[in-house]
């Protein structure tokens, strides 16, 4: 069974500063990796995904993430945050098992951008 750990429940950061949101996963087989963003009172939307190939993945709104197989991590980064990036961020892993994809979410990290 796979699991996802987001160690930071809240990350405050000043506007225009860089940010890193950490995600570690455990799985005995290959997985797909995702970051989703949830703005207040909205559903989740895909920020970026790692399926295969280059370990550095670029997403929407200037975010990027790096897949590190040896450290089983998929940390999300942005070089300069904006007020509008204030949201909840979820890391997720997807594993093909029993004929379908099983998706497991982390507990979320609340990014608070301080003006």
């Amino acid at each position: 069974a796979q699991s996802v750990t987001q160690l930071d429940s809240q990350v405050p950061v000043f506007e225009e500063a860089p940010v890193e949101l950490r995600c570690n996963y455990s799985s005995s087989v290959s997985v797909y990796l995702f970051w989703y963003v949830q703005y207040p009172n909205q559903g989740l939307q895909l920020l970026l995904k790692y399926l295969s190939g280059s370990t550095l993945v670029k997403g929407i709104n200037g975010f990027e993430a790096e897949f590190n197989k040896s450290q089983t991590s998929f940390h999300l980064r942005k070089p300069s945050v904006h007020i509008s990036d204030t949201a909840e961020y979820f890391c997720a892993v997807s594993l093909y098992s029993g004929g379908y994809q099983k998706v497991t979410f982390g507990t979320g990290t609340k990014l608070q951008v301080i003006p």
Partner: protein, 114 residues
């Protein structure tokens, strides 16, 4: 044109009542899900249907009954509502089989049980 739409967006009801939430997706996906998000934002999968067949049924009280009349619709009926059922319920869809598990979410239905 909303890809995954769910109604109603807000539900306020008394303990013991029965309520339903409806979900429709126009993405042509094979698989639909119900997730529950609690007050701490933790997302927990409840059910999943693939082409109208139940494929995931987590440890959810049997007061919760999903129904999928066709692969584009997945409804959730809740009987005898309890205070602990208060949460935001999200519908999602994905293209399984050849898919990756990427999920497309609705905007959520906030259920408040008084």
């Amino acid at each position: 044109d909303t890809a995954v739409s769910q109604t109603p967006k807000y539900l306020v009801t008394q303990m013991g009542n029965d309520k339903s939430i409806k979900c429709e997706q126009n993405l042509g996906h094979d698989t639909m899900y119900w997730y529950k998000q609690d007050s701490k934002k933790f997302l927990k999968i409840m059910f999943s249907y693939n082409n109208k067949e139940l494929i995931i049924n987590e440890t959810v009280p049997n007061r919760f009954s999903p129904k999928s009349p066709d692969k584009a619709h997945l409804n959730l009926h809740i009987n005898s509502l309890e205070l602990g059922d208060s949460a935001v319920y999200f519908c999602a869809s994905s293209q399984d089989g050849v898919g990756t598990g990427e999920l497309f979410f609705g905007e959520g239905s906030r259920l408040t049980v008084l």
